[in-house]
Symmetry: C2
Subunit: 201 residues, 2 copies
């Protein structure tokens, strides 16, 4: 039984639903906020309030955007013949950080996950197919940049089958040993992938 | 260089300032919020907005309260002859959970910490002294329930010296081996405290 005022209890509950946050951490967050200035809390409050209404999605690739098209789709320098399919905006961000990919993207909004009820209909797969249909002759490659886990693999298989009729080159990210890792401690699947994908030097 | 819209960047920065939260976790929080309903975000936003204005402090012990006195100070069943001095509301909460203490509390609002500039003036020490002065003949014991760390110890020493003239019994929480711990792995200070505080069985 908590003796905290109702408002504090409600905020602890709200923070407890954040990913990776338990009730103890949520409590610390609330006490941190209680020590901030009124101005600071008003700012945070208004950002959260406007998050849903101000953030829009690019109608082309479903990346975040403030206007109509996102900064990548609106950039005339990007190569429109290559589409990189990613699950979420975080993945796009990671790839952009590498600074070696100049194509465009398509954000699925997740990966297939039967247990959590994420079916193909819940992802932006229909939109991907429509986009390819519309611009098909000019597209030369579709890169499936999904996580190398169960959900990612399932999605790769599903998309590969679905996109086959377009006769476009479909690739996926290389799997193998990560840089700086130790061969001795690599798991069997990673090592088998590294062997299979070996390249001439 | 992040490509996220400004609003998302600002929210990531705000969450990064939360205790124990780095930019990666902050990013996950923002993406979690983006998936919530407008209603949910409005709720969270309004709680944060009202936090500072709706949460008041008990004028007697400085615990949270919604009215004038907090639920503990307003409770006629609590023993007003014993004051338990704690640093924060979380500590009060922990002691209340034990359900064996029936006295009242006094919240300092922290512990002395020279490095972080927390001087006696920044804590509610003056208020504690005034409270004791006002009710002194009826107070029989003051329990200093502060963390057994450097800051807690400093505060205990400071308060003990300050409250000596009142000639009230001043106690502190026992130090020793925590339940379920392993003597073999106990540190020297804990073990020395456990030896020093040994009790007849």
């Amino acid at each position: 039984m908590s003796r905290y005022p109702f408002l504090i209890q409600r905020l602890i509950e709200a923070f407890s639903r954040f990913p990776g946050v338990g009730p103890k951490t949520a409590e610390r967050f609330v006490f941190y906020l209680l020590k901030q200035s009124k101005q600071e809390l008003d700012n945070l409050s208004s950002i959260i309030k406007n998050l849903k209404t101000e953030i829009k999605f690019c109608p082309n690739c479903f990346n975040f955007s403030l206007n109509n098209f996102c900064s990548i789709c609106a950039d005339p320098k990007r190569d429109r013949t290559t589409i990189c399919v990613v699950a979420e905006a975080q993945d796009l961000e990671a790839l952009e950080r590498v600074n070696t990919y100049y194509g465009v993207y398509h954000l699925l909004g997740g990966t297939l996950n039967a247990l959590e009820g994420i079916t193909p209909k819940k992802l932006r797969i229909k939109e991907l197919v429509e986009r390819i249909e519309k611009t098909s002759p000019s597209i030369q490659e579709i890169i499936l940049a999904l996580n190398p886990d169960l959900e990612g693999e399932t999605t790769v298989l599903y998309l590969t089958k679905l996109l086959k009729p377009f006769k476009i080159k479909i690739t996926r990210l290389a799997r193998g040993l990560p840089t700086g890792s130790d061969l001795e401690y690599a798991d069997e699947i990673t090592l088998s992938n590294a062997l299979e994908g070996r390249r001439e030097v």
